[in-house]
Amino acid sequence: MDQEPLSDIQKLIRLKRFETPPTEAVDDFLVEFQRRQRSQALTGSSTKLFIERVSTYMSSFGRQKWVYAAAGAYVCLMLFPLVKPSTSPVNQQPAGGGTANPVGVRGSVIIDQPRYDPKQNQIRQLPTKVPEVIVF
């Protein structure tokens, strides 16, 4: 402890160090600790454990953790559209307009759609380039 004379208040507060639990408290504590460890091993949520471990891991980076977390979130955001299966636009666009609500358009696809063929003078299933819509 730094060597400075103690004030009256410090002398009073230091008396709190005489507040102690009973001597057998540590034995009881250890029994309870072991019981909780066994219980957690049997019933612990793996998701909660995973979150805690990620949190502990990130805390070891200090202030850089926010940079790494932001970078990780950005990578996840960029990867998400690539892994999410796209839905067929045919199913999403009912005939006559309908009430489909596409959230976004990603490129285009070629599908067979009924179209008028002037050469044959009839309606035929012809390859047509349509926007690929993503509906959540």
Partner: protein, 205 residues
Amino acid sequence: MPSQAKTNAEPKMKKPDEDAALVEAAKAGDTAAFDELVRKHHGRLYGLVYHMTSNREDTNDLLQDIFAKAYRSLKRFRGKSSFYTWIYSIAVNMSLNFLKKRNRRRAISLDDVDTGIGNDKDFIEMTSKSNPVKDANIRELQQRLNEAMMELSEDHRAVVTMFDIQGLPHNEISKILGVSAGTVRSRLFYAHRQLQNYLEEFRAG
């Protein structure tokens, strides 16, 4: 033969961690080794948490969580500090988080006062003179001291606990809390002034 005078540039020898062997055994899966670490450090950590919460039940619950977290995190402990400093930091941070979340007006639940207080020189000095401490019984004094501590903010209570009650030096407290030694000193100064107001009745006339 000329004597080699010590210079200020001489590097300080890092003391070997007394717990190193137990920590390595616990990391390897020896639960009895971790139990021994619990026994060894329970007292000081109990004191830290108790003086910050003034509640026995909360102290026991929180200490269970602290040791559980230390056990789960043990593989990440690299030995840059002693095991005790490492787990002490965990305990301080978890206690502060706990206090900031809980209802500040939770009831005080106190441990008994060890009879050794009767041999403490400061206590003897305060009770031998004509002094309000002499007139108050120990239980009443204990109650008032704890109430005064509870009036401090969590951050101020933490520095008072670590410096005044547990005797940690300023630089160690600053490392644990992640603040400068100057901040530790100024928090202590402010906390002592607050405590002087709350404990005015017990100050010597």
